[in-house]
Assembly symmetry: C2
Homo-oligomer: 833 residues x 2
Amino acid sequence: MTQPHPAPASASWPRRADTGAAALTEEDLDRIHRWWRAANYLSVGQIYLLDNPLLRQPLRREHVKPRLLGHWGTTPGLTFLYAHLNRVVRERAQQAVYVTGPGHGGPGLVASTYLEGTYSRVYPEVSQDEAGLKRLFKQFSFPGGIPSHVAPETPGSIHEGGELGYALSHAYGAVFDDPALLAFTVVGDGEAETGPLATSWHSNKFLNPVTDGVVLPVLHLNGYKIANPTVLARIDDDELDALMRGYGHTPHVFTAGFDDEPPQSYHRRFAELLDTVLDEIADIRAAAAEQGAEQAGRPRWPMIVFRTPKGWTGPKSIDGHQTEGSWRSHQVPLSSARDTDEHLQDLQDWLTSYRPEELFDEQGRPAADVAALAPPPELAMGALPQANGGLRRVDLRLPDYREHGVEVPVPGAGVVEPTRVLGSWLREVVRANPGRFRVFGPDETASNRLQDVYDVTDKQWVAGYAGGDLDAHLGRAGQVMEMLSEHQCQGWLEGYLLTGRHGLMSSYEAFIHIVDSMVNQHAKWLKVTNALEWRRPISSLNYLLSSHVWRQDHNGFSHQDPGFIDHVVNKKADIIRVYLPPDANTLLSTFDHVLRSKQYINVVVAGKQPNPSWLTMEEAVRHCTRGLGIWDWAGTEQPGSEPDVVLACAGDIPTVEVLAAADLLRQHLPELRVRVVNVVDLMRLQPEGEHPHGLSDRDFDTIFTATRPVVFAYHGYPWLIHRLAYRRTGHANLHVRGFKEEGTTTTPFDMVMLNDLDRFHLVMDVIDRVPGLSSRYAGLRQQMQDLRLEARLHAREHGEDLPLVRDWVWPQAADAGAAPAGMANSATGGDND
Amino acid sequence: MTQPHPAPASASWPRRADTGAAALTEEDLDRIHRWWRAANYLSVGQIYLLDNPLLRQPLRREHVKPRLLGHWGTTPGLTFLYAHLNRVVRERAQQAVYVTGPGHGGPGLVASTYLEGTYSRVYPEVSQDEAGLKRLFKQFSFPGGIPSHVAPETPGSIHEGGELGYALSHAYGAVFDDPALLAFTVVGDGEAETGPLATSWHSNKFLNPVTDGVVLPVLHLNGYKIANPTVLARIDDDELDALMRGYGHTPHVFTAGFDDEPPQSYHRRFAELLDTVLDEIADIRAAAAEQGAEQAGRPRWPMIVFRTPKGWTGPKSIDGHQTEGSWRSHQVPLSSARDTDEHLQDLQDWLTSYRPEELFDEQGRPAADVAALAPPPELAMGALPQANGGLRRVDLRLPDYREHGVEVPVPGAGVVEPTRVLGSWLREVVRANPGRFRVFGPDETASNRLQDVYDVTDKQWVAGYAGGDLDAHLGRAGQVMEMLSEHQCQGWLEGYLLTGRHGLMSSYEAFIHIVDSMVNQHAKWLKVTNALEWRRPISSLNYLLSSHVWRQDHNGFSHQDPGFIDHVVNKKADIIRVYLPPDANTLLSTFDHVLRSKQYINVVVAGKQPNPSWLTMEEAVRHCTRGLGIWDWAGTEQPGSEPDVVLACAGDIPTVEVLAAADLLRQHLPELRVRVVNVVDLMRLQPEGEHPHGLSDRDFDTIFTATRPVVFAYHGYPWLIHRLAYRRTGHANLHVRGFKEEGTTTTPFDMVMLNDLDRFHLVMDVIDRVPGLSSRYAGLRQQMQDLRLEARLHAREHGEDLPLVRDWVWPQAADAGAAPAGMANSATGGDND
């Protein structure tokens, strides 16, 4: 690394003794307990009550919701922690986000942010009075209301609580490059069983103790899932201790709720533990600051094991079955409260056990002393700007990508590895944006040819060093993040984006399916926040899929599947964008665009192998702006009349094959009027009514014609093109070649042939589809078939492609003396995993 | 559990002292070393050589492959372990499978199984002579040859080595119910960073030490990935030790290759370690057998940390860069061996360093004493029947599902939870098939209403017990496997199936995307093995997705996405099947079918909420056999003439809505001739040329007509129906309603309305599409729109659906006095997570 990491923003991590806070009094603890009771009351109210929010009348059946939905079990633990955090955030003026791993504990977070006042500031109609309470209760998990999980609608959340497993990844992503931020992260013991969570503990090997913030994990052992105990609650204490130490943490165990210990006592114990742990963090920070970002070692960060009963403070037993402290507390313990008098009474008893009359005043406002536990609004965890990243987001400084463009004197010249060219520009992006742009990938940044970024930054690595060459490009502070876990990279990037920064993730096309479900969850976050005025737009989630399915050099058949595009396209049209730049200059232009964008999921597929350049930088900019276009220079149209056939392509390999087919057609069918169309922005194919990028029918017909055969060579599964272009006038004339799940081969052209996407087959397609050709050109068709056979046999004999194919160069480029490259031997260049 | 687990098959786990094996001699160790050298030589040969396999001529450029593809780095570790295992397998007559986590070390496994003789038995043309060696080398990662990874083509493998993360899950799946089997499982330190692998260590909490076999994990710390060090190789020894103990293992550390220790010495150390570890396992087994399957506690199973240099025995350095012991060994260290004399010489030196002339005889056969290290053929790891599960597979005994059918006196009667009915039959399947049928799910078996299985078996749980009620349905040996990790459940099930057994996985529809990429890998395994005569067919991978996207009761918007079906349908047609049974009887019939099938991925989507039954058992069998059909009783056709409109449906909720729409049309448009079609087997919609289940065009047109409007209500994303039916005559008349990513609601009908799939909207669709209706029935259309609005407002006011909707019953059923249920309030029944 040639450029040091920027000095961290001033970040104060005081010890409690240095804050001037007074010793904890019984009143302090009582206030915490009262807050907790209030939050639990509000949580139970949300799950059950349609009316009578302050229980000022005896509970009647019609006060209870007809459908009881939600999750009680995890909630009291979450509210307990929130209550205590209020105090330390206030005392230490600590910027803290609260990441809720057990996201189904939605009522607890809504209740807590309501008590602190944030909720009513964001949603004024949910006011701090009896009418507001009624709204608060009714809306929960109710048609037209809010989800039962922690969600984008929940102030203070950067974490959608549906699918479990990503709490720690999100938390670490949030604190990267934010040295003042504490991510207080509750990990549920159910969630802890998932794979992504199990590996995300190791994030601490990637956290700089000076330039990044701090994650404080709390493993919430309430012991049960839906209908089972949890693994981590049922291993021996010494094993759990070893596991946490093995993960690199110093565990602190807190247990409460299983005996008759009075609340004052367990609140005191937890408050003191929290102070101990935060002081430990303060000491670590101070020591690391002393050593400096480039020298500080990896601390054994503290974490808390928080063992409390599931459904703590809820009904001890229902119908003779233990409920508190059991999986029976998971959802709605008194599910027939509206149906039986006995359960209605149980619910009334449960609610009144919190003594709401002591917690809310006449108007229904939280009692003043309880409300005063909350930090000032600017520090309230529900209102911290980091939890509404768009508030903090500043556009990237983007250096001029045109300066990195490839010289293209004639089409087909300028053979380069496109992603390597992109890397040269990304180096400048990294340089220009210290502390707010990171590159994430599962050990593939260099493999994907982005290694130029290492001229200006390192891979952040806070585990052990072996010295010298073996640690190439590793540094304790850097803007590249690599761990062999797509889940982890995705989760970190999401956390980084959600807190207002920028980034991209590079991955193999085939393996990006690993995060399919995470993409779903992020897409839903974007969809929902698009409709929430108070949530400001965040940077797009950008994928670069550069080791794609057509070049499986080192990996045989195992690394195939272009279906991520299909997966993404199923999401809402206003969120997703898919780009298939055919060469280096279009890739640059595309990436400049996606790094400027907000609230999208951008998928860019572009190969890393040597590839001809087709467009000059200026042409590339125009082409990308249009999203698709006719390549006049490649076709043989006559001005003023429609072509006989359209050869369309999307993707780098399909583009090479279509151009080679166009070349063959020029040679063998010179009178045929061929139009060549290239598509960069796949969404242009959709009708304008279905996608914001969609072409009008008139424009579409102008480009693809309404009547002529269109032979379309596509990077992915062919059906997607049909789907996108389905409503177009000439759709019946559209013939798509794409990926067919064929091939166990290692030679590029052989792979293309196995899937019938090759130049020879495309020529055959043209002969078959243009009226009148098939009888007149039977010989040519046979010749094409023979060439395919020859190419197949050559590959099987020699292990490389037919020279005729391998050495093919677009005629203009050949005339200009350009070297072949389209399907070059990648023996020295192919390093897919 | 009312029925004890069957007594285990006799499983002998002797201590070495009891086997009669003599003490290890220097000759034994020399033989192991010679085997290792031979395996390494064969591995390097596969990566580099096209010819001159025994180096009987000086190496020339043309002997080197033109494209050098493969992975050397992990290989020597894999061959080292295989060599040593041969000895212990032979001495102890141990059934052992070798699970290769670092699957890109394909050449090492091919080399090892070639040396042991299995490879030539399976592929006679790859003979044990010079000609066979040449074939062995050439075929590797070569067009028309074999993949570079451990793959279905590799004898002895149950583990495709493309995507990393599943080695331990597969290994545990393999040993469940196979008490004599040892799964020797190499976990790469790269793979160890993935989420799925990180949680899979906890599999040991689910392994019975009497009735299951044993997994011996070897964490192969060679220190590097593609271009980075690995996390676990760069944490302190005490942390790694703690981590493994935290995972419940007793670690044994072995380090070699970093100094000048002579081979005899490190081979002796490892051989002794292996004996120690296997004796430890023998002691554990003996103690557990003493206690019995129902009483034995959880042992702290041994595992081995195997720390050796990446690319061990390869070039120490190339072009001045350290290569052995560095990430530079990952793939092909001498990538320009064909291009430069210096590297060609380096390659020659490397190959001759193994002294092939001492390892192969004149004919090119492995030297007799080396070959004799291999176990006898029936125990050779490449040939163990467990690694070719189809050899061991025995059809399930399937009790008559008809006996579990619901009485359906008239359509729409017999309101039941379909999966609960299925559960009653699965209970009998479990009962009839001890030890070879397991039910897997991420804590959802009871939530998905399959709890009847607990009458005859338990959830296998070998972690701690709390006592009584809190441990309901837990047992140390049982046929239900639950851990909150879809990855883990899927991996276990794959391992179980691949070794010849049967099972199913139940999961939420939305979360099954978590395993998208694993499905890819398994689908590829099936595709490839379909073409390998020697691989016998295994049982299908069966999914039951019962908490589906239309019933998000407890979960608001977070649990949606029916795209798993789309993902699966992208795979090869001869592998995938998708079923959407509309009621309990069709679900029973479908499951009977899928549990009999082989080599498929079967996706069955069926709700768990109360649902009317439409077909008697006999009708259901006929309907499922056809896969789709006209429901005469629901339509208003006149014999002898085409209907005016076809209402089609696939999925339980769409079926209810279509029938309710048909009912509305009867009332309001009695003269309209309506046909109702239900589709169970989605693949029937495809042309017969594209899928084995595809209907002929004639049959399709007979059912759907070629000319009439078809309004199709579909469970998932509507585009899939267009895609499947795209080539059908009447496709232009097809109008599909399905899932549109809309809805943040909790009321069933409201959800359906948000996606325009509701009965009122379907009636509007019919009015819009049947010629002549729109002008005459504008009033009815308006009425439908008004009802939608009313339903929306009612839900938002009352939190439940309009009584008109909620209480709707199909008229015949209403006449017979049947209760409503189609969209019943599930307050007491809905327990999605």
